[in-house]
Amino acid sequence: MRRKSNPLTNQVAKDALRKLEAVEIAHSGAHPKYAIYDARGNVLATTSLRHSSTRDIPVRHVKDDLKVSLPFVLDLARCPKDKDDWLKAIGAIPAE
């Protein structure tokens, strides 16, 4: 069977969420949930990861939750982009 490489894994998403200073929200249910805030404490986005001990399970939905493209999430996780870049990308702060 043809297989695609799926770069947006649980681990990559966790790295990106760390960059965005996402806060894990305590809530019932099977999946860990996160909220991302701006500097004034406003909620800008929420997302969730799949509950699994495996680091490389795909979580392609996270890019839609964050309202950015797959390459953008990868750049967040792998360093070229930071939270300010994301805030500009979603229109929360003006782009330069």
Binding site: N6, H31, T46, I57
Partner: protein
């Protein structure tokens, strides 16, 4: 051997539905013609389909109207989206993805409702959409 068999054209619309514990796919052709039913994982890779949620069980939330859900499969995982409210989920099986989506709809409805005074414009719009479909 007869070599004149015309290969089936790629369907343009795919409708997915969970029936019991199986993932059923109803394939509709370009002219709306019924092209068959399949169930299981991986039968229609790369196609985008749609399904509808009629409840949010096990959550106690009540649906005011059915929720349209976009469905995507890419050989590795299912991605399902309530696009209008930007609530998304994925899973190894269609059922798993749908359960996660229901959980996230219930979570966003409660969390955004509790945080209403500090919602950014995106979540504010999401909450407005969710309130058109869901009530406690």
């Amino acid at each position: 051997m007869n070599c004149d068999v015309e290969l089936p054209k790629k369907p343009e619309v795919v409708y997915a539905e969970v029936v019991g514990s199986h993932d059923y796919w109803f394939t509709i052709g370009p002219k709306g013609d019924f092209m068959g039913t399949q169930f299981g994982k991986g039968v229609l890779a790369d196609d985008i389909g749609q399904t509808t949620l009629y409840d949010l069980a096990p959550s106690q939330l009540v649906l005011l109207e059915p929720i349209p859900v976009a469905v995507e499969f890419d050989d590795e995982s299912w991605v399902v989206s309530f696009a209008e409210a930007n609530v998304n989920a994925s899973g190894e099986t269609f059922q798993e993805a749908i359960e996660m989506l229901k959980e996230m709809i219930a979570f966003d409805y409660a969390f955004f409702g509790d945080s209403e005074s500090v919602l950014g414009s995106g979540p504010k719009n999401q909450l407005a959409v969710l309130r058109r479909y869901v009530r406690s």
